[in-house]
C-alpha cells in the first residue's frame, strides 16, 4: 500500500511538471498577445511595449521559462494580471468557494442518483424508470446556463423560496476566514445566521450542478445494476432466502458501484474545476470564473497555476477512486493495479 502511494505521488509530480511545461509553452506560442489585452484596445503601441518590458515578456522564451520554473521551485506561481495579486493567493481565495459548492453538488448527485439508478433497474420500464430517464436527460442535455436561469426565475423570482444569487446576503458579515468555505467557517465561529444564509444561497447552484452529475450516476448505476442482477450469485442469494433489500444493497449494489465510482470521480474532478456558467449566473466567486477570464485574457501565470491545480485535483480524485476500488472489491489489489 505504502509503496503504491509513493509510486502514485512520484507519477503525480511528473504529471504536474509536464502540465506546467506544456501549458507554459502553449500560452506563449499561440498567435495572441496577452500584453495587448492587458493594455486595452486604446493604448498606443508604446504603452504595450513598455508593459511588455515591465512584465519581462520582451525576453526570449527560454529565459522566461527559466525564470518561471525558478519561481515555481520556490513555491511562487507569479502574479495574476487580472487581479494584481499572487496566483497562489487567488487560488486560495477562489478554490474554497468552488470546492464547497462542488462537494455539496456531488453529495446531492450521489444521494439522489444512486437510489434512483437502483430503483430504475429494479423497477425497469416502470414510471420511476421513466422519471429517472427524463431527469437524466434534462441533467445531461439542458445547457446549465439555461437551467440556472430557469431555476432562478422560478424558485428565486416567482416563488421566493431561495435568496438572490451570491454566496451570502450582502448585509451579513462573513466570519473570520479560516478555510474559505463559508459553511465551515461559520460553523467554527458558531455563527448560525451566516451558516443558514450560506446554506440557502448554496442550494440552487448546487442543485443545478448536481443535476448534471446525477444524470450520469443514475444511468451508470441502472445499467450496472441490471447487469449484476442477472448474475448467478444474485439468484443464489435469493434462493438462499436472503431478503430482497439485502440482496439489492449488499450483493448487487456493492458490485454495481465500481463503475459508478469511476463516474463519480470524474464528475467530482470536473466540478472542482469550477463551472464558468453556473458561477456567472449565480454570482459565485469561484475558480471557474477566475480561470475562464484568465484563459480569455491569456493571464499566463493564472493559466499555468490554474491548470496545474486542476491537474492536481484530477490526479488526487483518481487516486481516491483507485483506493475505493480496492475497498469495494477485495479482488482488486493495489499492487497489481
Amino acid at each position: 500500500m505504502l509503496q503504491y502511494l509513493i509510486r502514485r505521488v512520484v507519477t503525480l509530480a511528473i504529471t504536474l511538471i509536464g502540465i506546467m511545461v506544456v501549458t507554459f509553452f502553449i500560452s506563449l506560442v499561440i498567435p495572441a498577445d496577452p500584453l495587448s489585452s492587458i493594455a486595452g484596445p486604446q493604448a498606443p503601441q508604446e504603452t504595450v511595449d513598455r508593459l511588455r518590458k515591465l512584465y519581462g515578456f520582451d525576453q526570449p522564451i527560454y529565459i522566461q521559462f527559466g525564470r518561471y520554473a525558478n519561481r515555481l521551485a520556490h513555491g511562487d506561481l507569479g502574479t495574476s494580471f487580472q487581479t494584481g495579486r499572487p496566483v497562489l493567493e487567488d487560488i486560495a481565495k477562489y478554490f474554497p468557494a468552488t470546492f464547497e459548492l462542488a462537494t455539496i453538488a456531488l453529495f446531492f448527485s450521489i444521494i439522489v442518483g444512486i437510489p434512483l439508478g437502483v430503483l430504475s433497474a429494479v423497477y425497469r420500464n416502470s414510471p420511476i424508470d421513466h422519471f429517472s430517464r427524463v431527469l437524466s436527460l434534462i441533467g445531461v442535455s439542458m445547457p446549465v446556463f439555461w437551467l440556472g436561469l430557469v431555476f432562478l426565475l422560478i424558485f428565486y423570482f416567482k416563488l421566493g423560496w431561495f435568496p438572490e444569487p451570491g454566496r451570502l446576503d450582502i448585509m451579513l458579515i462573513e466570519p473570520e476566514r479560516l478555510t474559505g468555505m463559508l459553511l465551515v467557517d461559520s460553523l467554527i465561529a458558531l455563527d448560525w445566521e451566516v451558516f443558514f444564509d450560506a446554506l440557502k444561497h448554496m442550494f440552487l447552484p448546487a442543485f443545478v450542478l448536481g443535476l448534471y452529475g446525477l444524470a450520469g450516476i443514475a444511468r451508470i448505476v441502472r445499467s450496472s445494476m441490471l447487469d449484476v442482477l442477472s448474475q448467478e450469485y444474485i439468484k443464489t442469494a435469493r434462493i438462499k432466502g436472503a431478503r430482497e433489500f439485502i440482496v439489492l444493497t449488499r450483493h448487487a449494489l456493492r458490485n454495481a458501484l465500481i463503475p459508478a465510482v469511476t463516474i463519480i470521480g470524474l464528475t467530482y474532478g470536473g466540478l472542482l474545476e469550477g463551472s464558468v456558467l453556473t458561477e456567472t449566473i449565480f454570482s459565485w466567486p469561484g475558480l471557474g470564473r477566475y480561470l475562464g477570464t484568465a484563459f480569455l485574457t491569456l493571464d499566463l501565470n493564472a493559466v499555468v497555476g490554474g491548470t496545474m491545480l486542476v491537474a492536481l485535483t484530477f490526479c488526487l480524485v483518481n487516486l481516491v477512486v483507485d483506493l475505493l476500488y480496492a475497498f469495494l472489491d477485495p479482488k482488486i489489489t493495489l499492487a497489481r493495479s
Binding site: P31, A32, D33, P34, S36, S37, A39, G40, P41, Q42, A43, P44, Q45, E46, T47, V48, R50, L51, L54, F81, Q82, T83, G84, Y94, I111, L149, L152, L153, Y156, F157, G160, W161, F162, P163, E164, P165, G166, R167, D169, I170, M171, F196, L199, K200, F203, F245, T249, T280, I281, F282, S283, P285, R289, Y290, T293, L296, T297, L298
Partner: protein
Amino acid sequence: MKTSLGKLVAFTALVLVLVIPYAGAAGRSDVLVVGMATSDIISLDPAKAFEFSGVGIEAQIYDRLLDFPEDRFDKPEFSLAESFNVSEDGKTWTFKLREDVKFHSGNQLTAEDVVYSFKRVVYLNDQPAFILTQFGIAEDSIRAVDKYTVEIKLDNKYASGIFFSCLAAGVASVVDAKVAQQHEQKTDKYPDGDRGLTWLSRNSAGSGPWILRKWEKNESVILDANPKHFMHPPKLKRVIIKEIVEATSRRLQVEKGDIDIAWQMFPDQIKSLMKNADLRIESSPAMVIWYLGINVTKGPLADNRVRTAIRHAIDYNGIIDSIMGGAASPINTFIPEGFAGYEDKVYYKEDLDKARKLMADAGFPDGFEIEMDHGDQTPSPELAQALQNSLARIGITVKLNKLISSQLWPKYRAQKHDLILARWGPDYVDPHTNAQPFADYKAKVLSWRNVYYNDETSAMIQKAGQEMDNDKRIAIYKEVNQIIQTEGPYAMLFQPKYEHAVRNNIDNFTAAPTFDLWKLYPITKK
C-alpha cells in the same frame, strides 16, 4: 440502513425547512445596493486603475483639484483647488488649495500631498500616467510653493480645457502621502519602492465622499459614507456595488427589490422592465463610438470612392433598431454627444444606388472580397454579420474573423487588418481625447492604425491642443471632423446609450455618460 435512510430524510427535511421560508433581506433603508459587472477591476489605486469599473469606484473615494458636477460634463469646476493662475507663456500653472480638506485618515490635505500624488503617477508610469505626462509633467516639474499652493510646469502651452479635464481625471486624484508612504514596499517591478501601489490597489487613502470599506474581486465593493466631506457629504450611509455579471440576473434582482439599481441593462430587458411599475429606466448617451475602421492601404480600400460607398451601404437604422434595440443614435462625428463640439449633422445615410455608382466609378462594379476582424463579445459578432449583409448588397463579399481581444488588438496595432469593427471611449472628458486618435496619425492611435496619414488634420489637431480660446478650439475639431467624415478611414456606426433600471424609492440619480462621471453622493433612498 434503515436508520441511515431515516437520518437522510430528516436532514433533507431540515434543509427544506430552513430554505423555504426565505423572505429576503431587510433593513437597507440607508444602504444603496447597485448590481453591476465589476470584474474588470484590477486595482483601485488612482495611479494604476484604468478599467471602466476601477476608475468609476476610485473616483468616489478620492478628490481631485478639479471635478465635474453630477449633471454637467462640458467643463470641470473647482474641487480641491479654489483658484488658479497661469503664467504669460501658458506653461506654469499655480493652484491654490482649500484649507479645510481632511483625508479619511484625519490628516490635513496639503500641497505636499498633491505633489506626492502627481510624482508617484509619473514614477509608477502605469497605464493612465500618460493623461498627466502628455503635458510634459515630470517628477521635477511640480512643487509645493507653500502649504496650500501647488505649481505645475508644463513643457509647452496647452489648451486649458484639455489640461483641466485631465486634472479632473481619476489618475489626478490626490492620495494621502503619509498613509501611502507607510505602506511602501519593494517589489520585483519597483525595486526602489512601490509608493504604496500594492497596498493601495485594495485599500484607500483618499479624502472623497466615500471611504473604501472592502473590495472583494468578483464579489462586491463596499463604500462607507464620509460625513465630513468638505463639499459633498453623502446622503446614504453605505453603498454596496454587487458583482452581477449576468444581465438577466441583474434584471431579476432589481425587479425583486434585492438591488436598488441594475447597471447597464440590454434593450430586450429594458422592454420588460418598463412594464414594472416599481421601476424606472434612466438613460444617458454613452461617450462611446462604434465605428468600422478601414485600412486605406488594402487594395480597393485605398480609393475614397470605395470607402464612401461602404459608408453609404450600411443599414444604420436597421443596426440600431434590431441589434441595439433602439438604445443608440446615429453619429457622423468623432465627438460624441455630451462633449463640447458634438454635431448632429448627418453625412451618411443608407443609399444603395449612390453606393453602387461609387463602386462602379471606382472600377469595382462587381465588388470584391475583403476581410473584417471583430471581437468575440456581444454585440460585436451580431454587428459584424449585419455589416457583412449590408456590404454584400453592393457586391463586397466580407469574410468575418472573430478574434479574442489578445488577437484582435495586436493585429489592429500592426496595421494588418482590412476592415475592423471597433469602438472608442474617451480617456478623459474633453473632445481632444477623441479628436487626436481619430485624426492625428502622429499620436499613433486610430488614424495611424488605419494607415491614414493626413498631415493637414494632424497639424490642425496639434494646433487645437494649444489653443487657449475654447470656442476656437472646438471650431477646429469641427473642421477636422468634416475632413475625416468626407475622406477618412472610418464609417461611424452609432453612439450607444447606457440604460439603467432604478427602483422608484431611489431619488437624485443622474445617469452619466461614463461610470467615473457618475456621482453617488447625491443619491437618496425612501
